[in-house]
C-alpha cells in the first residue's frame, strides 16, 4: 500500500499568505500533526520574493513595485530574487528523517527537483537538474528552487514558469549597472524559458498542477490525497503573516 501524502492547492493568495502557509505547514509537520505535504500555488497580486540573505532595497525597485501593484516578501529560504507572476509554485514539507529524503542537502535538492522534472516530462518537456538549485530544458532555466531545514523538517519551494516577461521582471529588479540593463535583459531572455514557450500554447495552472501531482507521486512512490489546511495551520498562517511576512521589520531586515 502506498504512503499517503497531503496535496494542497491554493490559488491566488498574497505573497505574505503564501510564505506564511509554507511556514505553518513546516511547524505542524514537524510536530507530527500532518503528513508530508505538497502544495501547488499562485500569487495574487504578482510578487517579488527575495532570498533570506538578500537586501530588499539592494535587489528590488520598490517604487516600480508600488507603481505596478507588485508585492514583495522575504522568504525563509536562501537563494535569489524571483518575480512570481505566471507560474506554478510548489512547496514540499517533509521530515528530514523521512526515508525518501537524502540527508545530504544537495542530494535532497536533486531528489525533489526530480519530482518537478517528472511533472515537466508529463507535459512533454525533457529537463535536467543543474546544481545548485535550477532545472533547465535545452540549456534554459524553467524552474528555480530553494530549501530550508528547520525543526528537523525540510521545506523546499520552487517555481515552474508557465510564461515569462523578462522586461517586466527587470523593471522590478535592480541591476548592478544601468548601462548594461539591455544587455542583461537579452542575456536572460536567452537563458530562461517557460512551458508556454516550449509547447507553443497556453497551459492552465490546473493542467500543470495535475502533471506535477503525478510527477511527485512517481518520484516518491506515494499517493497525493487532496486535503485542506487544518484549523491550527490557518491560525498559524495568520500569525506568521502578521508577525513575520507582512511586517516591515522582517522584509527590510537586511
Amino acid at each position: 500500500m502506498k504512503e499517503k501524502w497531503r496535496l494542497l492547492k491554493t490559488e491566488d493568495k498574497t505573497a505574505f499568505t503564501n510564505m506564511a502557509i509554507d511556514r505553518a505547514v513546516l511547524v505542524t509537520n514537524s510536530e507530527g500533526k500532518v503528513p508530508p505535504t505538497v502544495r501547488f500555488y499562485t500569487w495574487k497580486p504578482p510578487a517579488i520574493s527575495i532570498g533570506y540573505f538578500q537586501s530588499l532595497e539592494e535587489e528590488v525597485d520598490l517604487a516600480v513595485c508600488k507603481e505596478l501593484g507588485v508585492d514583495f516578501v522575504r522568504r525563509i529560504t536562501g537563494g535569489g530574487a524571483v518575480f512570481h507572476d505566471k507560474e506554478l509554485t510548489y512547496s514540499i514539507v517533509i521530515s528530514e528523517s523521512h526515508p525518501q529524503i537524502p540527508r545530504n542537502i544537495l542530494e535532497s535538492y536533486g531528489r525533489i527537483c526530480g519530482a518537478v522534472m517528472n511533472g515537466l516530462k508529463n507535459l512533454g518537456i525533457e529537463s535536467k537538474y543543474v546544481p545548485i538549485n535550477d532545472i533547465v530544458t535545452n540549456g534554459k532555466k524553467i524552474s528555480g528552487n530553494a530549501q530550508t531545514r528547520k525543526i528537523k523538517t525540510v521545506l523546499q519551494h520552487g517555481t515552474v514558469l508557465l510564461d515569462v516577461d523578462v522586461e517586466k521582471m527587470f523593471s522590478l529588479l535592480k541591476v548592478p549597472d544601468e548601462k548594461i540593463r539591455d544587455k542583461l535583459i537579452s542575456d536572460v531572455k536567452e537563458r530562461v524559458t517557460s512551458i508556454r514557450h516550449l509547447l507553443g500554447k497556453n497551459i492552465s495552472f490546473d493542467n500543470v498542477a495535475e502533471a506535477m501531482k503525478k510527477g511527485f507521486e512517481e518520484e516518491f512512490n506515494v499517493k497525493l490525497t487532496p486535503g485542506k489546511l487544518t484549523e491550527e495551520e490557518i491560525i498559524l498562517t495568520k500569525k506568521f503573516e502578521k508577525e513575520c511576512f507582512g511586517s516591515r521589520d522582517w522584509n527590510y531586515k537586511k
Partner: protein, 94 residues
C-alpha cells in the same frame, strides 16, 4: 569608513557585503552579509555578523575566524565558503 563589495564566489553565488570599519585600527565595526547563497541554519549568518565585530581586517585572521565559526556553529554553506566570504570582506576596503 564604509565599504561595499559585490563578489561572485567561484562556482558559487553572488555575495554582496556592506562593511563599516575602523580605518585606523583596521577592524570591523559592523558587517551585513547578503546575497543569493544558502546557509544552514540560516540564523548562523546573524551570529557570524555579530562575532565578526572588532575582528582585524587581515586575510589570515579573517579566514581562521570564519572557519572556526563554521565549525562551532555547524554551518553548512551552499554557494559560499570561508575563502569567498574572506575575499568579499577584504574587497570592501578602500
Amino acid at each position: 569608513m564604509q565599504g561595499k563589495s559585490v563578489y561572485k564566489v567561484p562556482n558559487g553565488k553572488l555575495l554582496k557585503i556592506f562593511l563599516d570599519y575602523n580605518k585606523k585600527t583596521k577592524s570591523i565595526n559592523k558587517i551585513n552579509i547578503t546575497g543569493d547563497f544558502f546557509a544552514y541554519p540560516e540564523e548562523a549568518i546573524e551570529i557570524m555578523e555579530n562575532q565578526l565585530r572588532n575582528t582585524l581586517l587581515d586575510r589570515e585572521i579573517l579566514l581562521n575566524k570564519i572557519n572556526s565559526m563554521i565549525k562551532e556553529n555547524n554551518i553548512e554553506f551552499i554557494g559560499l565558503n570561508a575563502e569567498g566570504l574572506t575575499e568579499g570582506i577584504l574587497m570592501c576596503l578602500k
